[in-house]
């Protein structure tokens, strides 16, 4: 058995990393699951539903890992459903509502590539996370492929699709880098090789990746903004409504087994 003992400070730092990753996957997955049944094409209905299901599954695995790190008696369902809205730590990019199809494609494209850059920054310092991330990266390849295909399709889709995509990128772009909001104790995570590079370096890699896709299509690259520490707090009314939705069943009967 591998010794997974963590110093208290490192435990706190790891828990914050896991919480941000899990909340990002959970909120983005739940938001886009709203397309099930109403996506623009039947094939796309299947695709976006499958991607959302992947993200919710990733969130579940990350919350399970977080539960073992916190060891405070909460399981993955308690972590997902029993927190108040202000306790969520997803990035402000994912606070945006589902919106129309262009909004969804712009937001999810920016997020998928950001998530990929973050997953590529996870080192071998905490084996359970390293192993899970190895599996997640295989699955996320399909998401990237799908979102890049949609960006190209809307960019080449004539006047209205292109205009709507440009407007959507402009609306969510300024919040895109909030996925890389600095963690409270990145130095400890770097020293323990749980992270291999600061999130600021992951952001630079993400920006280069985005630029390589958006610039040839003549699309705007999200502006570089000064890193803020509040990119994962102070959530929108849109998220508060979503929280009411995704906790409604759980809140309806405390402690019930469904």
């Amino acid at each position: 058995m591998i010794d997974l003992a963590l110093a208290p400070g490192l435990r706190t730092a790891l828990a914050e990393l896991l919480l941000t990753m899990a909340d990002d996957e959970f909120v983005s997955g739940f938001t886009d699951s709203e397309w099930t049944g109403i996506a623009p094409l039947l094939e796309e209905d299947v695709a976006i539903s499958s991607i959302s299901q992947d993200e919710l599954g990733h969130a579940r695995a990350l919350y399970q890992l977080l539960a073992t790190v916190l060891a405070d008696g909460r399981d993955e369902d308690a972590l997902a459903y029993d927190r108040e809205p202000d306790a969520f730590r997803h990035a402000r990019l994912l606070d945006h509502p589902r919106g129309d199809w262009a909004d969804t494609i712009a937001r999810r494209f920016l997020y998928e590539l950001a998530d990929e850059a973050r997953l590529a920054s996870i080192g071998d310092g905490y084996p359970p996370l390293t192993e899970l991330v190895g599996k997640l990266r295989r699955e996320e390849r399909y998401h990237r492929m799908h979102l890049v295909a949609w960006i190209e399709r809307l960019a080449h889709g004539g006047t209205e699709p292109r205009e709507r995509l440009v407007a959507a990128l402009a609306a969510v772009g300024p919040d895109a880098a909030t996925v890389f909001t600095p963690l409270a104790d990145e130095p400890s995570l770097l020293e323990a090789r749980i992270l291999t590079r600061p999130l600021a370096a992951a952001e630079a890699a993400w920006r280069a990746d985005l630029t390589g896709i958006l610039v040839p299509l003549g699309l705007p690259v999200p502006p570089a903004v000064t890193p803020t520490t509040d990119g994962r707090t102070g959530h929108s009314d849109s998220f508060r409504w979503l929280w009411g939705e995704f906790t409604s069943v759980r809140r309806s009967e405390a402690g019930a087994t469904w």
């Binding site: 094939e43 299947v46 695709a47 539903s49 499958s50 991607i51 299901q53 992947d54 993200e55 919710l56 599954g57 990733h58 579940r60 695995a61 084996p127 192993e131 899970l132 190895g134 599996k135 997640l136 295989r138 699955e139 390849r141 399909y142 492929m145 799908h146």
Partner: protein
């Protein structure tokens, strides 16, 4: 003269080894494709048989596979009655890949109407998009004139293709 002593009756008397366990697990079907077993799909990692416990390492095909709990229960049920505690550990230590599906598993998938996945092999990002390198045969007529309709399908592990010869849509396992 050697007289074989009879085994002590009750729990733990029978010789149980890893092969016995794998044989039993090979009778546990995939909940969504009953014609193929979880062993043939490559979902079983290590099996550890101890005097008081059988530990089974279960490798999920996809992290969010909703059938995982059903499979976990089916494993526990199949191994119950061997006189030992059964422990099923979901593990990502060896990430499940579609390359783990056995030759028998691939044939059973095909017979059930699911095209088996192209080999992933190291370095190939998305072989399903590389039709020249990895043609996918129609599971109904064998034609190689098939096209990808949707990289996503009714479950996380499947995609949707179409056969130009028998004009059937069919599902194909995702290479991953």
């Amino acid at each position: 003269m050697v007289i074989a002593a009879p085994p002590r009756p009750g729990a733990g008397a029978r010789a149980i080894d890893g092969a016995t366990i794998m044989g039993a697990l090979n009778e546990v079907p995939d909940p969504e494709i009953p014609g193929v077993s979880i062993v043939e799909l490559g979902m079983i990692g290590a099996v550890d048989v101890r005097p008081d416990e059988i530990a089974v390492e279960l490798l999920p095909t996809f992290v969010g596979c909703p059938a995982l709990e059903v499979i976990r229960d089916a494993i526990a049920n199949r191994l119950a009655g061997l006189g030992r505690t059964v422990r099923v550990d979901v593990s990502f230590a060896t990430p499940w890949s579609s390359d783990r599906i056995s030759p028998a598993g691939r044939e059973k998938l095909r017979a059930a109407g699911f095209a088996p996945p192209a080999p992933v092999r190291p370095g190939r990002l998305l072989p399903m998009l590389d039709a020249a390198a990895a043609p996918v045969a129609c599971p109904y007529c064998g034609s190689l004139r098939t096209t990808l309709e949707n990289a996503f399908g009714p479950t996380q592990c499947r995609s949707i293709r179409h056969c130009a010869d028998c004009r059937q849509p069919f599902e194909a396992f995702k290479p991953i």
